[in-house]
């Protein structure tokens, strides 16, 4: 592991030549600006609230057990590269065991339980999650590197909201799909990514349990801790053993899990490449499948948009969770007539972003989750420079250790550049321009992905027209990265299929039979 300084792009000699930001926005003015003693206090959340075990086993059958594989791996704090805990590295035999336990729980208890009884457990879980929200927020931030502001105000509240929402459906399944009876599928194998570990867990587990399925969930190997703390919530809620099982390990364990013949349903969130692999692996097996994969969302700003709020939306769209968001607004499409003032305002706003200690509540942009991801982001930034796009990064200080990337803006980007085509999954925004609404739609759709899009305009009719023409699962109007458990979420084209959230999300976990 090298130190963070070597990882940062701005360390490279080429960076000055391609344009660097200033420490403060240009509109603040220099020269006549006075030096004032204005500093934000480091306001870190205390780590004390989280009691980390030195070692975490697998959570199978309601108990923490040592892996039969006998192997362990370490999970790091990406902001410091310090180890947080050792976690079991499940082997194939552990997966076998977990699926068998989940099957038993489905047959003997959970599948037969009336919906109103299942609802009680889900409501209980939701309440416990809210009660322990600070603990979860701090742990999530430690393990992912995301700012505490986000885990506290976005991730954890949404996690609880998902459980509340699907708890409400558990005793109403008979009315969810009129004229049809909804039966659980059985055992669900769920593999989730490292960008929103607990939120993705909630998106997967809440509807599965509400519908009467049992689950085996594999969290990402770099962020297993919040799922393992969730295991504790299951115990606290007296959830029957075996209903929720959590196995930790590398990607191949996830693949072994989804391929297991006794699994009825597979749900995966992650990269398109792995999604395709899973699709191939289970083809013809009859397993139900939902995939939520990559994205390269267009955030389209028309000349009549509320500019200052659009700036906030653009910033939130690409720097939320360091841009490690499948639906991140990574392509900014600006109407040419306002491109200049907008980019000027955007650069000013970037200079005020606070990058650093994720546990500090004043922090806007945290650490990149893992070294491999950091390398990938840097490679694509270099590709952007090499292809002739213009780089802008504000000159903020980065911590000595950890995985960091400065908020990055590319202008003069062409549709054919790699940074306009490939999912970067980092705090890198590519700015393109368009002249007419038709051209905006054309450019927005001209990508293998289709997960989300944003439209900024004051004109209601234009919003509706764009929503119809954009081939994306979610279109936000005058906002971005807004989530709600009642709203289905999912992609077109290579962004996946099936929907999570809302009634659509419930449908993915039931078999409909005629009454």
């Amino acid at each position: 592991m090298t130190t963070s300084r070597d990882h940062t792009v701005t360390k490279r000699p080429a960076s000055d030549a391609v344009g660097r930001g200033t420490a403060s926005p240009s509109s603040w003015g220099f020269g006549d600006g006075q030096a004032i003693p204005w500093e934000y206090a480091p306001a870190p959340e205390s780590r004390e609230i989280v009691k980390l075990q030195s070692r975490y086993g697998l959570f199978v059958g309601g108990k923490e057990i040592a892996p039969r594989s006998g192997q362990w791996f370490t999970t790091l704090d990406p902001a410091t590269e310090e180890p947080l805990a050792e976690v079991a590295r499940a082997g194939v035999e552990d997966v076998e065991n977990a699926v068998a336990v989940a099957r038993r729980a489905f047959r003997r208890s959970w599948g037969e339980l009336p919906g109103r009884e299942r609802a009680k457990y889900l409501f209980r879980i939701a309440r416990i999650l809210q009660e322990r929200s600070r603990e979860f927020a701090v742990l999530e931030t430690l393990d992912t590197g995301k700012p505490i502001k986000e885990s506290r105000d976005v991730d954890i509240p949404l996690v609880a909201a998902h459980f509340w929402y699907y708890a409400g459906w558990a005793d109403k399944l008979d009315y969810a799909f009129p004229g049809r009876t909804a039966q659980p599928l059985g055992v669900a194998a769920q593999v989730i990514p490292w960008n929103f570990p607990l939120l993705m867990l909630a998106w997967k587990i809440a509807p599965a349990l509400a519908a009467g399925n049992t689950v085996v969930l594999k969290p990402a190997s770099s962020t297993p801790l919040s799922a393992l703390l969730f295991a504790d919530v299951c115990r606290q809620a007296d959830l029957p053993p075996g209903v929720v099982n959590i196995v930790t390990g590398p990607g191949e364990i996830g693949l072994a899990l989804v391929k297991h013949p006794d699994v009825d349903k597979v749900a995966f969130t992650g990269s398109t490449a792995v999604g395709k692999q899973i699709g191939r692996a289970i083809a013809g097996s009859g397993k139900a499948l939902t995939l939520e994969l990559g994205g390269k969302a267009a955030n389209i700003v028309f000349d009549d948009a509320p500019l200052d709020q659009a700036i906030e939306g653009i910033v939130n769209g690409i720097f939320f969770n360091q841009g490690e968001v499948c639906c991140a607004g990574s392509r900014l499409l600006v109407q040419e007539s306002i491109a200049e003032p907008l980019v000027e305002k955007l650069k000013d706003r970037l200079a005020t972003l606070r990058v650093g200690d994720p546990l500090d509540k004043n922090t806007d942009v945290g650490a990149i989750n893992n070294a491999a991801q950091l390398a990938k982001i840097e490679e694509l930034i270099e590709a952007g420079v090499a292809e002739g796009a213009e780089l802008y990064q504000p000159a903020c200080d980065l911590p000595e250790r950890g995985y960091w990337v400065r908020p990055t803006l590319f202008t003069n980007v062409a549709q054919s550049h790699r940074i306009a085509q490939e999912e970067i999954f980092g705090p890198v925004l590519s700015v393109l321009t368009f002249r007419t609404p038709d051209e905006a739609v054309e450019k927005a759709n001209n990508t293998p992905y289709g997960l989300s899009a944003g439209v900024w305009t004051e004109k209601g009719s234009r919003i509706l027209k764009m929503v119809k023409e954009l081939r994306a699962g979610v279109v936000w109007a005058n906002t971005f990265n807004r989530f709600d458990p009642t709203s289905p979420f999912g992609g077109y084209k290579e962004s996946g299929f099936g929907r999570e959230g809302g009634l659509h999300g419930l449908l993915a976990y039931v078999r409909l039979e005629d009454r």
């Binding site: 006075q34 003693p37 204005w38 500093e39 934000y40 509540k361 005058n478």
Partner: protein, 328 residues
């Protein structure tokens, strides 16, 4: 001969400018290069941004500096029918020495009173450096005749006002007669001469953030030295999002014209915590150049004692009771 040609040309240019203002619907096209692109404001977005900034916390040393600055930015205000010479005299003493027991506490920026009491305030503040601000132009409603508004402004200045806080004609603004509002500000500015002019938009009556932005730019274009949220007589008075919208208008106006305009949120700001949240929004939007009483004021009365209380708490480590600070 040439003077006649000049006069005709000047009159035509003036009438064209006037037509432009009359035709202006607050959007981009009308005033074109003169006012620039007005733009609009998204309510959800601006409120969210303001709420996010309010969560910032500043360092203890910065906090003491900010509290000191907040005092220096206060326009200590009394605008009541029951105001008397006695009340004004007392308030002026408080303005000069907010905490008689602590000589390190600075004076406030100004005392803000009704025109009829300007002379009394001026006498009470003589030699102190604390300015006298007078409301004018039919405060608070502005529903009177232009001649009276101008006369009131002139009389207030004759009586010794250093600063004039005028109200805009919201009736005219809301009925779309922007030209009338514009002309009135221009006229008041003309009768102010060198005297500092603050233009009160009364944002609580404007209804939308779009209107706030539009009125801000209109007032600045017409010559305002400061734009101010409220009279304090209408609820809601100053809010954080409204202030953010106005600060963004100030930033855009400066970028366009090179002229720096000040900001005064007034009414409803009662605690140090709120005042610091305003300063955070100010800092994040306009930067250090605006962190001075020359460009930012608080229109407030009860805020002062809360700030004094916080300063003493920061220094002593404990809170004093309310009776340890004089009311006026």
């Amino acid at each position: 001969m040439s003077t006649t040609v000049d006069r005709i040309a000047r009159e035509r240019a003036e009438s064209e400018a006037h037509e432009l203002v009359r035709a202006w619907d607050g959007r981009a096209a009308g005033l074109g290069g003169f006012l620039g692109r007005i733009g609009n404001v998204d309510q959800v977005g601006v409120e969210e941004r303001a709420a996010g900034l309010a969560k910032r916390s500043i360092k203890r040393e910065s906090k003491l500096w900010a509290l000191d600055l907040a005092i220096r930015m206060i326009d200590l205000t009394t605008l009541e029918g029951k105001d008397t010479r006695g009340k004004i005299h007392a308030l002026c003493q408080k303005a000069k020495r907010p905490d008689p027991g602590d000589p390190t506490i600075p004076s406030v920026a100004a005392v803000c009173v009704y025109p009829a009491l300007v002379a009394d305030a001026k006498a009470a503040l003589a030699g102190s450096g604390v300015k006298v601000a007078s409301v004018a132009t039919g405060f608070p409603s502005g529903q009177t005749f232009l001649e009276i508004k101008l006369a009131e402004t002139s009389r207030a200045i004759e009586a010794g006002a250093d600063e004039v806080d005028m109200v805009i004609d919201r009736g005219a603004f809301l009925s779309g007669d922007y030209a009338a509002v514009f002309d009135e500000i221009v006229a008041v500015k003309a009768s102010c001469g060198q005297t500092h002019l603050k233009v009160i938009l009364e944002t609580g009556e404007l209804g939308t953030y779009d209107n706030v932005r539009r009125a801000s730019i209109l007032a600045m274009a017409a010559g305002a030295d400061f734009i101010k949220t409220s009279t304090g007589k209408v609820t809601p008075a100053a809010t954080l999002p409204v202030t953010l919208v106005m600060l963004e208008a100030i930033r855009d106006f400066e970028r366009r014209t090179g002229r720096a305009v000040g900001m005064k949120p007034a009414g409803g700001i009662r605690t140090s915590k709120e005042a610091i949240a305003y300063l955070v929004v100010l800092y994040e939007t306009l930067g250090p150049r605006w962190m001075t009483p020359d460009r930012f004021r608080f229109g407030a009365s009860s805020l002062l004692n809360d700030v004094l209380m916080q300063i003493r708490k920061e220094r002593d480590g404990r809170y004093s009771g309310v009776d340890y600070f004089t009311l006026d």
